[in-house]
Amino acid sequence: MKKFRSIAVIALIALLTLCVYGAALAEGAPAVPTIGAAPEAPVEKAPTGYIWAMIGACVAMILPGIGSALGVGMAGRAAAGVAAEDPEKGGSCLVFELLPATQGLYGFVIAMFIAVFSGILNGSVMQLATELGRGFFYASLPIGIVGLVSAYFQSRVCCAGIGIVAKQGNGGMGITYAIMVELYAILALIVSILMVVGVPVNA
């Protein structure tokens, strides 16, 4: 628990500060002045939406990815322990090991959504207005943070569920208990999707 807390807190703080600091720096920088432009013309700032969109895609992938990797790792160790004693129970344990893997996939989905909608894939992201880019960044936060935390806590339920398999032979209600934690990752996924597709890129 302590380890997770420190990993999670460090990951979150480092990522968010870096993001915000980098983007703030970029927003402060003026566009390269064109030679021969009238000096009294106001210096136009280049749109920095691309930075925010990239950061958003990163947050959506990295945080739930960390959570799922931690979660699957923990559940996998527990499952290996049971399988070592009784290889026939390995199959039931596999289900528990895979449950915390979904948060990373949800994050992946959101990262792909951001990549498609913001134009990272076709290069049009460079013209993305700053406000729109920020929208993508905010959209990545629900799945990023909730995904990280819920994958970890789901994994703890999964480890307990693997204990049920070890003692009873099959997971039974353990799977349902573990699925309960997932609801919040799913709700975060929905909110993130709605936010991403709601950014008025083509307006």
Binding site: A101, L105, M112, T176, I179, I190, I193, V197
Partner: protein, 648 residues
């Protein structure tokens, strides 16, 4: 449908007991429970105790057989011929399996003997290896160890020290002999005069001399070490020869597998015999039988024994019979889902039939990809056809087959095909999907939550029917019916435009009156009012249950989005590899095809797992909550349960 159980008591002659037990096991109709009839300390209980202890020692032997054969199979697992992944279990007669037990046990005996010899060789080798390493410092000593004997005036000590410290010994005037070797410390034999023993030893130690004694072998240490090494080499050869013999036993896999199945059959029967109660000449068996198989049971026993007495009765109120559900072929696999939660109470209601349509509906929506549905259905159908799985595996395979078909339908109505949008494949005029969750998220969420609300309503109606059947009309009307009235009234109020909509208002008011007025009917006075008002709080439960169905939207969308992301990955890989001169076209095609296959198979697997479990959860929490009584124990008749072979 839950099949009612009958409690049976069977009395028979001990002479017939084994035949009856065999017949019962072959037919798998009775779940035997422990029979206990004799008062403590009576002569009867002594006789029965004798019988039981006989059964128990037989059971111990059978348990031992099973664990020996299992251990042999796991020891030989690396050498067993591989079964085809989809090969069905071979069919075998029960007699054949039981007849294979002695052969399997003799294979076990051979294997255990070989293993014992291997272990003996190994421990011998370890011992010698320890001697060899203890002898290593002394290998350069050139006199036989047994020749080192004290003389009248002096003793000898053997030890090791650094070669460059030898001059110190010369200075001290100690007589010694050094045997130079390549090692950092060389063996030194020093003479210690009896007269100045302590001083000499002290001098030796100060020069870095450390006494050491080689293992007690006669002759030159170097030769001894050499001899031990060659002995170890031959032990090594013997071990590998023995291992070869072990590997050769892998050919007997067939016999072992049959033997294991046979031993498991015997074990199960022996276990059941321990539950019997016996006098000198008779035995008594108690247990449960399905009421639709009661006649079959009579027939079986009538055929096997001439003299017997069989008593059948309905379960008493205080008894908890096991649960057995019997459903039509299409519904039967879905019992697996219910049992994952808990088998129904034997006096309750089997929800499988009212659950299956919703399960398939939401499973299809959660997968939501026609291509994936097709793959799932084909894979499941092939698996069922070739492997002929039974039990839980077979049920899951059938659920996935039907789920795949449902996925194909809902992929067309509200989803994608292999991660591609329908209008990208067939042009913008293609009428499907009817709801595109990518474009019209709110509609999709509303529709899915609406379907979920529908399921909850069905659950409430089922509950009303069940309560009415039990004659509990008050709960049906006040607690559940009132909510239905409120919902119906709200629907009328919202949908109907004419003045008739005030009927809706009336319904709502009636529902509220019933709910608040009678919700707390179990209590008196002030408690009744509070209880009724408290019932209003249930609305939050409805709300969260309905919102829970929004997961259908998220999972359905996630499947399509993951699929399209994987398509994108394969496309990018193809575009990158196209640039390679000459072979670029072929390589890019192959790599992209491989990527597509692997990634999409992964996508099907992970999403099918997600849909399977989340869909089950919707049934358990949102649906079963409304009407289901869990807490049964599955009917587990004495039967034939094998691992490798299927019994004809």
């Amino acid at each position: 449908m839950i099949v009612p159980m009958k409690h049976i008591s069977l009395f028979g002659l001990k002479a017939d007991e084994r035949r009856i037990m065999k017949a019962l096991q072959e037919n798998g109709v009775v779940q035997i429970v422990s029979a206990d009839g004799a008062p403590e300390g009576s002569e009867l209980s002594e006789v029965s105790g004798l019988f039981r202890s006989g059964c128990e020692s037989e059971l111990a032997e059978k348990n031992n057989n099973v664990s020996r054969i299992k251990a042999a199979l796991s020891r030989l697992s690396a050498y067993l011929p591989k079964d085809g992944l989809l090969a069905p279990a071979p069919e075998c007669g029960e007699e054949e399996l039981i007849a294979a037990v002695p052969e399997a046990l003799s294979v076990c005996g051979e294997l255990e003997e070989l293993q014992k010899r291997i272990n003996a060789c190994r421990s011998e080798r370890e011992k010698k290896a320890a001697y060899i390493s203890a002898l290593r410092p002394f290998e350069s000593v050139t006199i036989p160890l047994e020749d080192i004997k004290p003389t009248k005036t002096a003793g000898f000590v053997l030890g090791v020290m650094k070669a460059d410290k030898l001059p110190l010994l010369d200075e001290a005037g100690i007589m010694y002999e050094a045997y130079p070797s390549a090692q950092a410390k060389i063996p030194v034999l020093a003479a210690v005069p009896n007269a100045s023993r302590e001083e000499t030893l002290a001098l030796l130690h100060s020069a870095g001399f450390a006494e050491a004694s080689p293992p007690p072998f006669e002759g030159l240490p170097g030769e001894t070490a050499e001899r031990l090494r060659s002995e170890n080499a031959s032990l090594e050869l013997e071990i590998s020869e023995l291992n070869r013999q072990v590997a050769a036993l892998g050919e007997k896999a067939e016999a072992l597998k049959k033997g294991l199945d046979g031993a498991m059959i015997e074990q199960k029967r022996a276990e059941a015999r321990c539950e019997l109660f016996a006098t000198r000449e008779t035995f008594m068996l108690t247990g449960w039988v399905r009421s639709d198989e009661a006649d079959k049971l009579e027939g079986i026993i009538g055929e096997t024994a001439k003299v017997y007495y069989l008593e059948m009765r309905d379960p008493l109120d205080e008894e908890q019979p096991p649960t057995f559900c019997k459903n039509k072929k299409f519904f039967a696999p879905f019992e697996f889902i219910t049992n994952m939660y808990s088998p129904p109470d034997p006096r309750g209601f089997d929800p499988t039939v009212v659950m299956t349509p919703f399960y398939l509906l939401f499973f299809g929506l959660m997968m939501g990809d026609t291509g994936y549905g097709l793959i799932m259905s084909i894979a499941a159908a092939l698996f069922i056809k070739l492997k002929k799985p039974e039990g839980g595996t077979g049920q899951v395979a059938r659920i996935l087959f039907w789920g795949g078909l449902s996925t194909m339908v809902f992929g067309l109505l509200a989803g994608t095909c292999f991660g591609m949008n329908w209008y990208d494949i067939f042009g913008p005029d293609f009428p499907f999907p009817l709801i595109d969750p990518m474009k019209d998220q709110m509609t999709a969420i509303l529709v899915y939550c609406g379907l979920g609300f529908g399921q909850i309503i069905v659950g409430m109606i089922v509950s009303i029917v069940l309560h009415l059947k039990q004659g509990d009309w008050q709960t049906a009307l006040f607690d559940i019916g009132s909510w239905l009235m409120i919902f119906a009234g709200a629907a009328v109020l919202l949908l109907v435009k004419s003045p008739a909509k005030y009927v809706g208002l009336g319904l709502i008011v009636l529902g509220l009156v019933l709910l608040v007025g009678f919700g707390g009917r179990a209590k008196k006075g002030f408690g009744r009012v509070v209880g009724g008002l408290g019932k209003l709080y249930d609305i939050t439960g409805f709300l969260s249950d309905v919102l829970s169905y929004s997961r259908v939207f998220a999972l359905g969308l996630a499947t399509g989005a993951m699929g399209s992301a994987f398509n994108l990955v394969a496309n990018i890989a193809r575009d990158m590899l196209k640039g390679i001169p000459v072979v670029g076209g072929v390589v890019s095609f192959i790599v992209a095809a491989l990527l597509l296959v692997v990634l999409h198979v992964f996508c099907v697997a992970i999403n099918a797992l997600g849909a399977f479990i989340h869909c089950a959860r919707l049934q358990f929490i949102e649906y079963y909550n409304r009407f289901y009584t869990p807490g049964g124990k599955l009917f587990a008749p004495l039967g034939i349960d094998t691992k490798y072979n299927k019994v004809k």
